[in-house]
Symmetry: C2
Subunit: 224 residues, 2 copies
DNA sequence: CAAGAACCTGAATCGGATTTCATGTTTGCA
DNA sequence: TGCAAACATGAAATCCGATTCAGGTTCTTG
């Protein structure tokens, strides 16, 4: 599969036509295509989005597209990987400097929601990846969950998190929560002018925090 | 929109060509089309699935399709509503006879997972609905969440569930958890022969139960 | 059993999308 | 300045699938 090349975290950018590395001009064009693709895929979905629409949005000739990506599917996969990289960056950035491990988890969540509010494309594109390219979908989820899981194990070791929880299951549970709450309270919510909110409603955020704190905290009676 | 007719819970089945009610034969054909659509949409996704593939799978002539559904989108929407009805039935059935409200929530979850294991189409179809027909997607989630939410409020009233939780947020959180855990541990998991497991790995189920119990239980120190 | 209603059929129409390709333009460098 | 190498272009080839339609078959009822 053509996937294997794509899986490398920091791949060297090469022309898919000649296989040679890109010049500065080439890289800029590639980036404009990716940016246009993010907008078009998010607004229209994979199948409504056409190469023509993407190249028009990017202000680039139709034929040029194929100098940078082998196919519509190829640019879609590149986009998922790009978004994945960025959301994880946003999360880990939010977590640095947290006082304790539970606070770090909360901060990571906040980073996730901030990114979601700013890039609705993440949701739409990732969800659609299930059908367009299952491999990248798994990769996306797995990479995020790995981060959670490691954090949970560490927090269990220090006693900040209930040791009876299964870290893997818990990580997936947290991920699922975040995703559906983001969908419902960020993406579905619109103000009077039809704009989505910049962040989660405080009531919802508080409710979710309480839920997570309850779920993760060690049970009082079991502390020794 | 043509949706409004479809939203009725127990609609009368009519031919979309003549608008008249169906005979027994007609109903049987319609059902065969829906069953074929469930398989084909689940295996191939909306856009790979073609009307020809659906009618072939149903053993029915291509033209016949349009006697029962106006379009490809129409049968897709009908399918989502059908699956939604069935999963809710499966959940409420599992909940009857539970000793207390917390046990009922757990049982509802179990019913959800059982249905998921038996009908992987639910996931695939529902997830794709986000792009094909956002209205039915909302309807699907909203109907399920309403049930959770009502249960949570009742359980808070009796003191079985932490009163500090926001029922709506909590309901969406639970829904998201269930969805992602089902995806990861039912749909992604395959045994040696490539068959998906019939039910959740006990370790995972136990981990999830612990997580939910922690999250929902009233905090000890706040009991008076 | 005759005739109308309901149901069934698949070839042909039609629109729309991806991808190719022959040709033109810009850039970098000797 | 001149000439490769990179980059850019959009018309046309090609494919594919949703939907229509003109004409058949099966049921059912008076």
């Amino acid at each position: 599969m053509s996937m294997s090349d794509e899986l490398v975290e920091h791949e060297e950018l090469v022309s898919s036509a000649t296989g040679r590395p890109l010049t500065k001009r080439g890289e800029a064009t590639r980036r404009r295509l990716l940016e246009a693709a993010e907008l078009v895929f998010a607004e229209q979905g994979y199948h409504e989005a056409s190469i023509v629409k993407i190249t028009e949005r990017a202000g680039i000739g139709l034929g040029t597209f194929y100098l940078y990506f082998d196919s519509k599917q190829a640019i879609f996969e590149a986009l998922v990987l790009d978004l994945n990289r960025r959301v994880r960056h946003s999360m880990s950035e939010a977590m640095t400097g947290a006082s304790d491990r539970l606070a770090a988890e909360r901060a990571g969540f906040a980073g996730f929601f901030r990114f979601t509010a700013e890039h609705p494309a993440l949701y739409r594109v990732v969800r659609e990846a299930e059908f367009v390219s299952p491999e990248v979908l798994r990769l996306h989820y797995t990479r995020i969950v790995e981060g959670y899981e490691a954090g949970l194990r560490a927090a269990q070791a220090t006693g900040d998190v209930d040791r009876a929880l299964d870290p893997e299951t818990t990580a997936w549970a947290l991920m699922g929560m975040g995703e559906l709450i983001g969908m419902r309270f960020l993406l579905w919510e619109r103000d009077a002018e039809g704009r989505p909110p910049a962040e989660l409603d405080p009531k919802v955020f508080a409710g979710m925090t309480r839920f997570i704190d309850n779920a993760l905290a060690p049970r009082a009676e079991e502390e020794k």
